[in-house]
Structure formats: structure tokens, C-alpha cells
Symmetry: C2
Subunit: 200 residues, 2 copies
DNA sequence: GATTTTTTGTGAAAAAAAGTACAAAAAATG
DNA sequence: CATTTTTTGTACTTTTTTTCACAAAAAATC
């Protein structure tokens, strides 16, 4: 089991590796990657060593191979479906976000109580939350994004878990109570911004 | 100097404290707060103790007082201005996001290269990036959000730093190189979502 | 092909974070 | 008002994470 902290670091490395690739490199040394990612070279080596990812002494690491291994951690070869519950500000922005598609993550559908959002103008189909169960089962979706107001967060989450969702990205400013087998990743935009005012 | 990890925990506590307040409570015990926030009671007490925030033995902590102390960390009584550079998907969603306004954070302006965005229809005024310096100095803005495509990220950041920005919330998928006195907080939505696929 | 240089890979050490345990305080009870 | 109960605050321990240090491998040089 890899800790969330290390998982995030692998994703960070991937961003840097893509940059190196764009610049025409095919190999990197741990200190190149470390400098770019803002961590020490030892940390980079330890992280790769943890997964049994090998470099060559004096030759460094092969970028293509690193990317392959990192993508494997996140199952990039499999079907990666996601649904978005709550098509307000954030939900809509995520639906339109190119970043997900680039990485072979398919946003299957969005859900919202407001019928005015069930239009074809959206980039993804939007349904009433009552259809969550149907669609989750049809596509075998295992991952969901919660972007509803806080009052609705826990109820939406319970519904998702009941339908078979196993991983949740939660933008609502609440702590979700979920069974053991479900993972929640929290993103609180207000807190992320506000934390900065400590430093100003 | 408080670590970023602990800062984030204080903001998490605040969310929980607001919930308790809404439910009519005026006092909390460390284990109430811990359970709600998903940390141990000892952790809660340690965190508060770190800042010299006192409870009363057997009486617990006064919610009002805790909120006051937490808000002090993040300078909620002072002027908290922010600008948004890049009014695409995410930039626009953030401009519309109620969460910031609720917490007395004032979004002064947005910036984008696309002139079609300089309309009065936006919730905040949007200008050409050339006006960054003028507006940052006029309002004494110290905090900025970067939500531009990755290719422009570093250049935008350099400009912001040159204008006097000291803290950056960066949504672009790049590591920013900044001088010592500038703090960067990274939010990578793609990575946040993708990290979940490790668990599915 | 021997020597030097460079870089990985990993144990050992250090630092940071979290958890344990319990004395001290204070409210509640008898 | 003495005793019991509850909860804070913090020293101490354990665990996790990071850094240090260096042997081993391999490319480059002589």
C-alpha cells in the first residue's frame, strides 16, 4: 500500500517527465527530476526504488519507462470512468476540463437537481440524481466527484457508495463518513486559498 | 512557523466548528472535534496547544474563541484581496465561487488575454494581463491565483512576483520557481482525481 | 584494459508527525 | 466538602518520512 503522499509525488514526477519529454530528453537523472519537482534526488530514487523501478547506474532513468510505470499505478490502461454529482460552478468547470480527457479519464455523466441543466448544450449528459444508480451500474463506474452544496454532501455520498462507488473526490466542505473500502480525497478550494493568508 | 499540514488541519477544524455552531453548540470537547474532522482527540489538543489556545479542563473548548483564534492565523480581520490570472474554466468557476466571499476574501479582478472576456457580464472585472501591475499596486494585493495553461504559468508567476505578490495558489500543472519570500500552494485537479484510481 | 568519474540503490541516522499515558484541573455527585 | 468523574495539557514512545553517506555499477577517459 503506497501512502497518499507518495502517490501525489509520483503524479508530480509525471508532470515533470512530460516536460522533459517535450524538451526532447529521453533520460533523466534523479537530480534533474528532483530539481524540477522540488524534492531531493534521494527522495526521487527512494520513491522509484519503493516500486522496484530501476534506473541504470551512471545512465539515469529512462523517461518512457518511468511514465509507463507511473501510469500503471493509476491504471491508465484500464477503463477509467468518472461521474460528477453537482453541476454548479465547480462541477461544470470540471466537466469542461480538458485535463481529464487528456489522461484517458472519461467523464460519463453529470447529475444535478436543476432540470435547466439537462440540456444538450453541456459537454456531457446531465441527469437527475435518481439516475445515478442506473448509470454507475451500466458503465461500472467506480469513481465519483462530489461538487454539491455541503448540506447535500453526505446524502449524495451514501447514495454513491450504495451504487458501488469506491473512490470519491469531494469538493464539498464536509468530512464524509464512508465504509472502510471507500477512499475519499478532499479538495477544499476555500481552504487552499485561505491557507496562503498565513504567509502574507 | 506552522507547517502547511497543521495549517490545513486548522482550516478543517474550522469547517467542523461551523457545523457545530449551526447545530447550536457553544462548546466542544477534543474528541467531538476529532471525530468530526477525522483525526484523534490528542491531535486536536496538540494542535491547539501549539498555538497556546487553551480549553478548560472538563469544560472543553469554547467554539467562538477557537474560531477567533483560527481566523487570526489567516488574518481574517485584515484586508484579504486576491486576483485571478486566467479566466478559463477554472478561473471563471473560482470567480463565481461563493466560498471566497463568505470568508471575507475579496476577488479584486481577473485577467485574461481573450478580449471577449472583458465584458460586464462577469461577476468581477476582467482585464488584459498588462494591467496586473497597476491593480496589484492599487489595492496592495499580496495573493494571486494562477489558472492559465501550463505554457504561460511561469511567465505569469514572474510577473506577479515582480508586482509584489507574495503568495500564489497555482492550478497550472507545473512547478513554479519563485524567490524565497514567495509561497506557492499547488492544486492539480487532474492529479487529485487520478490519485483515486490507485484505489479502484 | 586500467583508472577515473558519475550516478544509482539502500542501509543507517535524523527529523517530523502521530499516538500513548497519565498527572492536574475542574465540574459533578454524594 | 470530600470523592468521583471527566477532560485538558504535555512529557514520553512509536511510527513515518526525510536526509545522509557510501558501496556498487557502469559509462567515459586515458
Amino acid at each position: 500500500m503506497i501512502s497518499h503522499k507518495i502517490l501525489k509525488r509520483f503524479l508530480l514526477y509525471r508532470i515533470c517527465l512530460h516536460k522533459f519529454q517535450r524538451l526532447g530528453f529521453t533520460k533523466v537523472f534523479s537530480y534533474n527530476l528532483g530539481e524540477e519537482a522540488g524534492v531531493t534526488a534521494e527522495q526521487v530514487r527512494k520513491d522509484f526504488s519503493l516500486l522496484g523501478i530501476k534506473g541504470s547506474k551512471r545512465g539515469g532513468y529512462d523517461i518512457e519507462y518511468l511514465l509507463l510505470e507511473i501510469n500503471n499505478i493509476f491504471k491508465q490502461n484500464g477503463e477509467r470512468y468518472v461521474i460528477i454529482v453537482g453541476m454548479g460552478n465547480i462541477g461544470q468547470a470540471l466537466a469542461n476540463y480538458q485535463g481529464f480527457r487528456e489522461n484517458k479519464i472519461i467523464t460519463v455523466a453529470g447529475f444535478d437537481l436543476d432540470p435547466s441543466k439537462y440540456t444538450r448544450k453541456n459537454i456531457i449528459p446531465v441527469h437527475h440524481p435518481d439516475k445515478i444508480d442506473e448509470i454507475v451500474r451500466e458503465y461500472g463506474v467506480k469513481t465519483a466527484i462530489i461538487a454539491v452544496p455541503e448540506a447535500a454532501g453526505q446524502e449524495v455520498c451514501d447514495r454513491l457508495v450504495a451504487s458501488g462507488i469506491r473512490a470519491v473526490l469531494n469538493f464539498s466542505p464536509i468530512i464524509l463518513h464512508v465504509p472502510e473500502h471507500v477512499t475519499v480525497n478532499y479538495v477544499n478550494l476555500r481552504n487552499e486559498l485561505e491557507s496562503l493568508f498565513y504567509y502574507t
